[in-house]
């Protein structure tokens, strides 16, 4: 890794910084501080400050030497607070224990996701990738200013002042001081224009182990989630959603609800009726006592089986071309062996452990929100429209999210607007906490879309793969949202075909096309998005082709991956660590065991997994072991990379074994964890994660651990039983 120069324009902000007695790089302090006197001073000072400093609003160092890293990304379990702090601490040479993290306010000028242009938000496994240079710079600038300040005070050359674990040191004169001793002086200095970043060999935190910053709070019940917010005078809102998507409220009888002690008000917000109570239980009893007439005239009323039947028909005709090379039809006609298969994927709910919730406080011309905030710019815009407030007047407090898996980055800001509408319906007379029950959360939609795939492929006489025709049918996530222009090009929503249109295998004649039917069931990205289905169809079918060609599944893939060295490396690594090619220990009497492999790139990271499975006499199966190899560039926090692979595998296993949201006459069948099961500890296999050493820029790890699991499992089941399962969830009959 080379050292790079970064130019930052100088500025003078020393006056207001003196006021708070601390060094603040950049100007935007988190919303939670605005209420303090110092916060108000800062906000006033901000008004006249040059915008040139804005990208560095990430570090605050107090006179007590406490280093606060301002995290622009949502901590939803993926470890990003720790990752962002690692980047700053590395270049600041801070002691890990002096660093704490707080969530950034909504302010896209300072905190935009650099991979999303001017938009602030978290998703697509981009948090570390887009912050890697930015946050190291922020740390390096702080370090350089502290060094200059110390050198000035000590009357020694800056080059002779070193920094180690939070101490400024001048060895020759045996001086040794804390950061706090120089924050006032450092704040008076111009911001340096010439910053060097460390070389990889000098890293003390990146690539090493540091404990998670949220570990203690989460092990002691002290971490604060949206569910835990209680404001003075706050009311809890529990809503009655319509039974079908697209229904509206025709009328309601709230008499019984209002009789319940603790129930304060009942309001209609158009497509739902909300009961407001002094506490959750009163509000929920009130909600359950409502009598509502729904207008179903525009409601969606199909069964999921009817949707799949429609997709099946659509798949008979060509769709919009996502990728076309050579002439697949002609090649198929000349093939020695043609194989085809169809794949079915159900709707999936995110089912984060913390059901969706939100707190909204309305004031005059302003609004404050407490939320596991994942999509700041979109939510500000949507709230602004509904409330008639300019978006920047909407203050978003980003709290820990009890999981999200994509759900809290909703392009329609659905649950946030619902809460805002309730607060508006009571004229903002009290802050409102919207709490969805598990059943509300399960049935409110925004699912991973249903998909139907067909793949047809041809092998020549030597078993070479000469043609591949892949057709996908499923709802577009982007269409009809504010993201449509960005996500949908020439009839192709990239998130529908990602993982299929960039198939890495070398095939001369290849077509990938797509139908994007419009269906009245709300859909959304779900951890690893398109790759949740494309990895399955491509990686199980390539396996099937290997068998048809009489070749080993790994060797067959490797021969087709000549232009994709990173796929090759993780594939070889996973295979080697799993003992690919060696005989599996046999199972007990009546049991069959099998091993399967899959490799997939998503979000610029490369993951291969080998799954070992035991199929029992009763056709149930148990995943015994998963060996995972990942190349995510530089692993900033290797232990968090491992944790994301472990968790991604478990998350994928719930979907592979059980996951399905089905509809009956438009009504969602599932309601809670008994009929939308997620795996428990007794089902979790041994997981081994191997990280490819890399000097490449870091890429994401939140999602890429998910896609290879289900295909590797299906391939393992096929190896054990000879049965190819092509419908999710994977059930042997």
């Amino acid at each position: 890794m080379t050292t790079r120069k970064h130019n930052i324009q100088p500025s003078s902000r020393r006056d207001f910084i003196k006021l708070i007695g601390g060094l603040t790089l950049g100007f935007c302090l988190p919303g939670s501080r605005d209420a303090t006197a110092a916060g108000a001073t800062i906000a006033d000072a901000n008004a006249g400050v040059s915008a040139a400093f804005e990208p560095n609003a990430f570090v605050r160092i107090g006179a007590d030497s406490k280093v606060t890293v301002i995290a622009k990304h949502l901590e939803m379990g993926q470890g990003v607070y720790t990752g962002l702090a690692t980047l700053v601490a590395e270049e600041l040479d801070a002691d890990w224990d002096q660093v704490s993290v707080e969530g950034a306010p909504a302010d896209a000028k300072h905190y935009n996701n650099l991979l999303w242009g001017p938009f602030q938000g978290t998703g697509g496994s981009t948090a570390i990738a887009n912050s890697f240079d930015q946050l190291r710079n922020a740390g390096a600038i702080a370090r350089a200013m502290l060094v200059s300040a110390a050198a000035g005070q000590w009357g020694v050359p800056a080059k002779d002042v070193s920094v180690s674990r939070g101490r400024l040191i001048h060895a020759a004169t045996k001086r040794n001081a804390s950061f706090g001793e120089f924050v006032v002086h450092a704040a008076e200095l111009p911001i340096p224009t010439d910053i060097s970043l460390k070389q990889a060999k000098d890293f003390i935190y990146i690539g090493k182990h540091v404990p998670r910053k949220d570990g203690k709070a989460k092990a002691t019940g002290k971490a604060i989630f949206t569910q835990d917010i209680r404001l003075p005078g706050m009311l809890t809102g529990v809503v009655a959603h319509p039974p079908r998507f697209g229904s509206t409220v025709k009328g309601f009888d709230a008499d019984a609800a209002l009789q319940i002690p603790g129930v304060v008000d009942v309001v209609s917000i158009g497509n739902a009726v909300a009961v407001l109570g002094n506490d959750f239980w009163s509000a929920k009893k009130g909600r359950d006592a409502l009598i509502i007439k729904w207008n179903d005239s525009n409601a969606f009323k199909l069964d999921s089986s009817e949707i799949m039947a429609q997709y099946n028909i659509l798949a008979r005709g060509p769709g919009a071309i996502a990728r076309a090379e050579g002439d697949a039809d002609t090649a198929l006609r000349s093939a020695k062996k043609v194989i085809q298969a169809a794949f079915e994927f159900p709707y999936l709910a995110h089912a984060a452990m913390e059901p969706m919730n939100c707190v909204v406080r309305l004031g005059k011309g302003e609004c404050e929100v407490w939320n596991g905030e994942q999509f700041q710019s979109g939510d500000q815009m949507a709230l602004g429209q509904v409330l008639g407030i300019s978006p920047e007047k909407i203050k978003l407090n980003m709290l820990f999210a009890g999981g999200s898996f994509g759900r809290r980055a909703n392009p329609a800001s659905d649950y946030i607007l619902e809460c805002a509408r309730i607060a508006k319906a009571i004229n903002g007379r009290a802050p409102v906490k919207l709490v969805w029950t598990r059943e509300d959360d399960m049935r409110a939609g925004y699912y991973r879309p249903m998909f139907y795939h067909t793949i047809k492929a041809g092998l020549d006489a030597k078993g070479n793969l000469i043609a591949w025709k892949h057709r996908l049918v499923g709802q577009s996530i982007g269409t009809g949202t504010a993201m449509e222009a960005m996500m949908v090009k020439d009839g192709i929503d990239h998130t529908s075909v990602e993982g299929a249109s960039n198939l890495p295998y070398q095939i001369s004649n290849l077509t990938v096309d797509l139908h994007s039917p419009v269906i009245g069931v709300p859909v959304q990205w779900w951890r690893s998005v398109g790759s949740t289905h494309t990895a399955f169809s491509t990686e199980t079918f390539i396996d099937e082709l290997a068998v048809a060609a009489g070749k080993d599944a790994v060797a067959f893939r490797l021969a087709l991956l000549t232009k994709h060295p990173r796929h090759v490396e993780v594939l070889k690594l996973a295979a080697a660590k799993a003992g690919w090619g060696k005989r599996l220990a046999p199972g007990a009497k009546g049991e069959k065991r099998g091993r399967g492999i899959a490799v997939h790139e998503s979000f610029n990271s490369f993951v291969a997994q080998v799954v070992e499975v035991t199929v029992k006499a009763d056709k149930s199966y148990k995943v015994d072991r998963v060996v995972c190899a990942v190349d995510c560039g530089i692993a900033v926090n290797p232990d968090i990379v491992r944790a994301q692979m472990e968790g991604g595998i478990g998350f994928a296993m719930s979907a592979a074994k059980y996951g399905a949201i089905t509809l009956n006459d438009g009504v969602v069948d599932q309601s809670n964890f008994h009929d939308y099961r997620i795996v428990n500890i007794s089902e979790m296999p041994k997981v081994e994660v191997h990280i490819v050493p890399s000097a490449k820029a870091p890429t994401g790890v939140g999602e890429p651990g998910v896609p290879p699991f289900a295909p590797a499992l299906a391939n393992a089941i096929a190896a054990a039983t000879g049965k190819r399962l092509r419908k999710l969830p994977l059930v042997l009959v």
């Binding site: 939803m76 379990g77 993926q78 470890g79 404990p211 998670r212 949220d214 570990g215 203690k216 709070a217 989460k218 092990a219 002691t220 019940g221 604060i224 989630f225 569910q227 835990d228 209680r230 809890t236 002690p261 506490d279 959750f280 239980w281 009893k285 089912a351 984060a352 452990m353 913390e354 059901p355 820990f400 009890g402 999981g403 999200s404 898996f405 709490v435 029950t437 598990r438 059943e439 232990d639 944790a643 472990e646 968790g647 991604g648 595998i649 478990g650 998350f651 296993m653 719930s654 809670n672 964890f673 008994h674 997620i678 795996v679 428990n680 500890i681 007794s682 979790m684 041994k686 997981v687």
Partner: protein, 151 residues
């Protein structure tokens, strides 16, 4: 008015008798460490100790608590619990963290009874505590780590 013992203190609550213990703790006592996840005793995020046994507080009406001693994650302060919390941090078990209070409550109940639990013991004691982030590999390792530290 109903009186219950929470973390060693008697607390008087003016709530409907059918109010689940979970919502008494969260909305009325102000202890938010126990989480709402499913409301029907399926996920374990609301787990608390009732006379030392891990129970689902979302499914116990406050009127059924009687004289039982309730301990929430905030009240876990014995050697076993501390050892588990230390292991949880050492192995960086938590991801989103929402279920972890419940996991720790159930793990505490297990380790108090069985100082050297097997995988099967851990599975049996914790299979009612779901983790959507699937931190199970580390939960198992952390329970063992804590058990080792207590020997």
């Amino acid at each position: 008015m109903v009186q219950i013992s929470v973390n060693g203190k008697m607390i008087a609550l003016d709530v409907a008798p059918d109010t689940p213990l979970l919502w008494c703790l969260r909305d009325h006592v102000g202890l938010t460490g126990s989480k709402y996840g499913c409301g029907i005793g399926l996920c374990g995020a609301c787990s608390v100790l009732m006379d030392g046994v891990s129970v689902r507080s979302c499914s116990i009406p406050v009127s059924a608590v009687g004289r039982a001693k309730i301990t929430t994650v905030e009240g876990l302060d014995d050697k076993v619990a501390k050892s588990l919390q230390a292991a949880w941090q050492k192995l960086d078990v938590s991801q989103c963290g929402y279920c972890q209070s419940g996991q720790l409550v159930s793990a505490t109940a297990l380790l108090r009874k069985k100082r050297n639990p097997s995988d099967a013991d851990i599975d049996a004691a914790l299979s009612g505590n779901l983790c959507r982030c699937a931190t199970y590999v580390r939960i198992r390792a952390a329970v063992k780590e804590a058990a080792k530290a207590l020997l």
